[in-house]
Amino acid sequence: MRDEAWLRGLTEARVSRRTVLRGVGAGAGLLTLSAILSACGIRGSIAAQSQEKVDWTKYWASHKKTGQLDFANWPLYIDEDHGKSPSLELFTKETGIQVDYQPVIQNNAPFYATVSPELRAHEATGYDIVVMTNGWELTEMINNGFVAELDHSRLPNFAKYAAASVKSPNYDPGNKHSLVWQTGLTGIAYDSRQITRPITSFDDLLDPAFKGHVGMMNDNTELGSAGLLALGIDPATSTPADWKKAAGWLRKQSPNVSGYYDQSYIDKLQNGDTWITQAWSGDVFQAIAGGHKHLKFVTPKEGQMIWHDNMMIPRQAEHPVDALEWMNFYYTPKVAAMVEDWVNYVCPVPAAKAYIKNQLDDPDVANSPLIFPDSSIDTASHNFYVYKNYDEYQLWNDTFNPIIES
């Protein structure tokens, strides 16, 4: 006679109330999860664009001066005297607007990635002025309606004093959304104590004598453009096939490179870790003025990149009128000269040259062709490539990011 208990064990289902409850719970959970998932997604910038057209006259009429300005900028980009900025102090004195200056922008892409969730959600970013280089992120911000249209009736100084090269640039016709803060040059900087021979070309970055002491930028726009220039290709007219060739050159250079740096390239150059590096002109001049007299900035014979950093007002800014006041205040020979004398990039106000020479008594800066250039700069300088759509931008990224992330 078989053991009844054994038979029972074989034939009875091992389902208890607990297991059924668990199964039902799990099933319900999965169903709700799937329902939620199908509704999930991250809103894109285009989708976040508000559909209604903004009446800009009403916008500017509805905002008033508040006495506070939150100004986000790049580091080393405003005059500095023991931690205070004389130009900002002058602004506060003459208009009564307190400025909270935040040099938080280390590079375009990371900064844009930081503020885009806010921008897409139409929330205030906490900044009234942001400074972005002409390029993908700037175009995005303009096209997606993230930045306000400027009221030029309150910007008379811009019309009066701005250089022709910064009026109505191709990335922002009519200066509808942006005003140039500084124009800059990307060339090569080197430490003349470690490198005694003259540096003239991108090929010098390949020199094995400098192995392990070459710095390059991790901004892939700059890096890719450097690769293109090294091969004699004008970045503005390059094709994806050219990009691949540039990536090849950069890969060839890679064993020489000690690192792909963001703004920290200047720290590495100053403390001697790198001897030669891609560099932004003003940073190098500031380093020289700050005591590192052995550093030199050169325009390679293949050319240098020229770009504009532009002030823009995010649409949800809390103090847009104060931002406009600063923009107008800046575009005068005196203030632009105060800033330029320190920052040493390319000045958007030509009349500042006389001010620097006479009032500030700084002929080195006033006469420098890299700060107040003449027309010869156009032959040596090249613009970044302008992407036609996101897929091209993605292709550029996919071509050059693997070199940085290796």
Partner: protein
């Protein structure tokens, strides 16, 4: 005979180190310890030293240019540093308070009760501690992006509380399990309701644990970089500020802040050590141990 054996066992049980007698002939281990400890202190000493360096460029440099208190006098000169520090302190204090408030009942439930959700909840708390910061930060950002919650001070606080609760729970569970049921049982024997037993017996005993958990949360929150970098958005906390500022050269004021925090921490730790040594400690009654003869 018995007395000497008892005495010997007593000597062994005390925390007299076993190898005391031969210590002087084997300096290798102490040497190793002091060398390593010295190396760990090197960056701190460098930080303290260079916070007094009179650099001409208002960024730290290697060369020593003379002693100065200028950077201490002008701590807030650097744009954004004071603000970042305040934000960090605010987030740390708030998250410590909230996480202690939420974590204490959770620890009590997990330690003192047996219920269906206990296993899963314990697992969640463990996972919270064990999870790498990068995964937590990345997941939190995905969550906020998907829910259209703009990142900023609020999201930093939410996420900091989330990981601090786990630390508070772990500390308190350890305290609770070490405490045992004896005192609460005694209170019940004397007619206390469960709530009264908790409020008048358990809670006062828990306060040091809550304080410890709170301080731990404070420390973890103020020093957090990785998770905060994902969910901070435009808000800048102190570690985020330092990370960014180092790219163009650290301003000496950052070192001053670090030195001040360090000194304050050392003073608190030393005071704590002195106090715990001087004050009489209430003995915890071990009801299982046999009464002394």
């Amino acid at each position: 005979m018995t007395q000497t054996t008892t005495a010997r066992i007593a000597t062994l049980k005390s925390s007299v180190p076993v190898e005391n007698a031969r210590q002087r002939k084997r300096p290798l281990l102490p040497l190793f310890f002091w060398i390593v400890t010295g190396i760990t202190m090197v960056p701190i000493l460098v930080m303290i030293l260079y916070s007094f360096n009179n650099t001409p460029t208002s960024r730290i440099t290697f060369s020593w240019s003379g002693f100065t208190l200028y950077w201490y006098e002008n701590l807030t000169q650097v744009d954004g540093l004071g603000q970042a520090f305040l934000v960090s302190v605010e987030v740390a204090v708030l998250s410590a308070l909230v996480s202690v408030a939420l974590g204490t009942p959770l620890a009590m439930a997990l330690e003192r009760h047996r219920f269906l959700a206990r296993g899963p909840l314990s697992g969640v708390v463990f996972a919270d501690i064990a999870a790498p910061s990068i995964v937590v930060g990345a997941a939190s950002l995905s969550f906020f992006l998907s829910s259209n919650i703009p990142t900023g001070f609020g999201t930093i606080l939410l996420v900091h509380v989330a990981f601090n609760i786990a630390y508070v729970v772990v500390v308190l569970r350890a305290r609770l399990s070490g405490m045992g049921h004896a005192l609460e049982d005694a209170a019940a024997d004397l007619g206390a309701t469960p709530f009264a037993a908790f409020w008048r017996v358990t809670f006062p005993l828990l306060i040091p644990g809550m304080l410890a958990g709170g301080l731990l949360s404070l420390a973890m929150s103020i020093d957090d970089y990785v998770i905060t970098s994902f969910v901070a958005g435009p808000t800048v906390t102190f570690p985020l500020f330092v990370y960014g500022a180092a790219k163009v050269g650290l301003p000496p004021q950052v070192l001053c802040f670090g030195t001040i925090i360090f000194v304050v921490g050392v003073v608190i730790a030393v005071l704590n050590g002195i106090l715990t040594r001087r004050l009489p400690v209430a003995p915890v009654v071990d009801v299982e141990a046999p009464l002394p003869e």
